[in-house]
Amino acid sequence: MILDLLAAILIASGAFFFVAGTVGLLRFPDLYCRLHALTKADGLGLALIAMGLSLLAGSAAEILRIILIWFFVALASATCSHLIAAHARRVDRERTDD
């Protein structure tokens, strides 16, 4: 029961950070600021949801798999955000050259 409650709190706060990421995406003025919002807020959102679901998981194998999925996403998202920012900067330079 307490475990369920703890899981619910973790999952709800995870969803809260996803909403925060989207609000940032809608309100922030440029691409780079929006990247901050998506990478940081959504990253923590997924981590919290994964933790909450691990508490509800039926088996150890399931928990390991959830952790593995989270790990892949976490590993990729910072690198992806760097790739997007670097690409956008190159496009910016190209535009000012014209």
């Binding site: 999952i11 990729a76 670097a86 690409h87």
Partner: protein, 86 residues
């Protein structure tokens, strides 16, 4: 718990859709890449919750594939778009 998870999925879906609407109205094409970033994380979260709610372990495998593909897709997009730049 099922209702609670359903509400969570609804919130996550709404946040993806709102983000997508914003990205589609964006001024610069690079903003579309943000959609990939948003999708990569949020769709995995939705699948994880859905797998618990429906008690379907197979959805975890779908989430895993999404997680891996999102990163590869984005890297490929950046490389191809960069090549067009040069």
């Amino acid at each position: 718990m099922t209702i609670f998870l359903g509400v969570i999925i609804f919130i996550l879906l709404a946040s993806i859709l709102a983000g997508l609407a914003r990205v589609l109205r964006a001024h610069r094409p690079e903003d579309r890449m943000l959609a990939a970033q948003l999708f990569g994380t949020a769709s995995v979260a939705i699948l994880l919750v859905l797998s618990r709610m429906m008690d379907m372990r197979a959805l975890l495998d779908v989430a895993m594939v999404f997680a891996l593909l999102a990163a590869i897709t984005l890297a490929a997009y950046v490389v191809l778009a960069g090549r067009r730049l040069l």
